[in-house]
Amino acid sequence: MTTTRVMSLVLAVGATLPSALTAQARPNFSGTWKFASSAPANYPGSNGWGVPSPIVVLAQTAAELTIESGQFGANPMKVVYKLDGSDTIWEAPSSSQSGSTAIVKWRTKASWDGNRLVLYTWNTALNQMRDIISLADGRLTIVRATEQPGPSTNATLTYSRGS
């Protein structure tokens, strides 16, 4: 092996190692998670938006994270977040408090912040949610902030593995 070849190998490894390490460092949130606690206690979300779901099911691939949960409104929903930072936009029917039904536009976005994943969810029924999720000691922590026309809300939610 010539010096040139060795140098090329070292450079190639050097170039790929950081991204490989970064990918390794990123956690996989997949699993069924059971609500354990919230701070503040009895955090209600904001008029039902962002209310802690008793069970959340997360499925993560290299490209996306899917969350199945009741935290997005009256009925459980599956919501997809692309992990490359791009938007996901779709439409779905939604019932208002007065009982009327309308087509609501949804948008999600995700970005990594170290080993934490920042998830944004918007819809045109004036709901916003930002979840910062992380894993520690086998628990899933969600730092949640919600926005609706009234005052904002904040909470830290903890989930343990369960079914």
Binding site: S100, A102, V104, A145, P151, S152
Partner: protein
């Protein structure tokens, strides 16, 4: 039935105002205090509603079957150039009553929340008759993922007369050229927010006002509990405020006005039902309890005019906090208001009031012989470089 409930609620609102005035009365010790005040039932004060088709004013633009929804803001640059900030158009019911006046509040539903608004014609400019001059439809897309413009302003000290639009739910303030063709600056980071410690990001900002040198102050807001001070270029300089009920603490700082000599910063601490007063570096000076303004403005005669979210009254304070006058009444008929969100006055004395729940912007004209001390006098704008449009 809903309409009946509304009118049944009116006395309660008036009782609420009674609470407001009694809470404010201990401060009425200055010269003239009390003598010029309006009373309950003084619906339009020194103003009249001049157009028998008044609710149709500035309403003819939505497509058939739709109507303007929540009106977040209004700014009168001149008697014939008035900016209206509309939080989207709402689909009308299949059948509307013959007496439908043209504003969503007629249905006794808050125009701010239901049904889902179609974000079009969000910023329009009209003349004194409500005739459309400009519609900034090129920027409607900015508001799609929020709830539309919160309020609209021009700094009285800006010779270029940039137009500033606060968008609380996208956590930013947009600065446009006077003609709306260019978005020249965004204060905050679109769709991102943080806490009181972060000077880069805002969280649900609500209102803005300026010093003569271009320094400006932002009430921030529904999410954070602080005021942020910026230099004229938009560089954040300092912040003050935490969540709470003590001096310098806030619960939904929703309005801000700057003025006086030396200059002071008047902040509507809406959730705590008071106005707090600071110097320009955030040192607490005073508080005026008993009012929860959606919005405030400093008038040309150096008074603070506040629109109270509890009583639907417009209240005039001197800069020491003495109540000098008030008028206004809750309702959806012409001249009445439902959740005044921004007021503005032109150079001819006309007053414009945007209603977030009533779903309209009304124009009020001074009655003949009106007491000039009871009129809201808008601050003069610096002459525009190159002449006005």
């Amino acid at each position: 039935m809903r309409r009946r409930i509304l009118w049944l609620l009116t006395p309660l609102i008036l009782l609420g105002f009674g609470w407001l005035t009694s809470a404010a009365s201990p401060q009425q010790s200055g010269p003239g205090a009390g003598s010029a005040r309006g009373g309950v039932g003084d619906t339009t004060g020194p103003y009249e509603v001049p157009d028998p088709k008044w609710p149709e004013w500035a309403h003819p633009y939505p497509k058939p079957g739709y109507i303007w929804g929540s009106q977040g803001g209004v700014f009168a640059e001149s008697p014939n150039r008035i900016y209206l900030a509309n939080r989207g158009e709402l689909k009308l019911p299949e059948k509307v009553p013959n007496n439908f006046p043209g504003n969503w509040g007629f249905f006794n539903q808050q125009a701010a929340t239901q049904p889902i608004a179609n974000m079009v014609n969000t910023i329009v400019v009209v003349d004194g008759n409500g005739k459309l001059i400009e519609s900034w439809n090129q920027w409607d897309k900015l508001y799609e993922w929020g709830r539309g413009p919160h309020q609209v302003y021009i700094s009285p000290y800006d010779p270029e007369r940039h137009v500033w639009v606060v968008d609380d739910m996208r956590h930013v303030i947009f600065k446009f050229t006077h003609d709306g063709k260019q978005l020249v600056q965004t204060i905050g980071v679109l769709d991102e927010f943080s806490d009181n410690e972060d000077l880069t990001r805002l969280r649900r900002p609500t209102m803005i006002d300026w010093l003569p040198d271009g320094t400006f102050f932002v009430a921030d807001g529904y999410g954070n509990t602080r005021v942020v001070k910026y230099d004229r270029s938009g560089k954040p300089l300092l912040k003050w405020g935490t969540r709470g009920t003590g001096p310098g603490q806030f619960n939904t700082p929703h309005g801000i006005a700057v003025g006086g000599s030396p200059p002071r910063v008047f902040v509507s601490d809406r959730g705590n039902r008071r106005i707090q007063v600071f110097d320009v570096n955030g040192t607490f000076l005073d508080e005026w309890p008993g009012i929860a303004p959606h919005s405030m403005m400093l008038s040309a005669d150096e008074h603070v005019w506040a629109v109270d979210s509890i009583s639907d009254r417009i209240v005039k304070f001197d800069l020491s906090g003495h109540v000098e006058y008030s008028f206004g009444q809750f309702g959806t008929r012409p001249g009445y208001t439902w959740a005044m969100h921004q007021i503005s006055a032109d150079q001819e004395g006309n007053l414009y009031i945007a209603e977030v729940f009533g779903g309209r912007t009304q124009k009020y004209r001074p009655k003949p012989g009106a007491n000039p001390t009871q009129l809201v006098r808008g601050r003069s704008l610096m002459p525009m470089a190159g002449g006005t449009r």
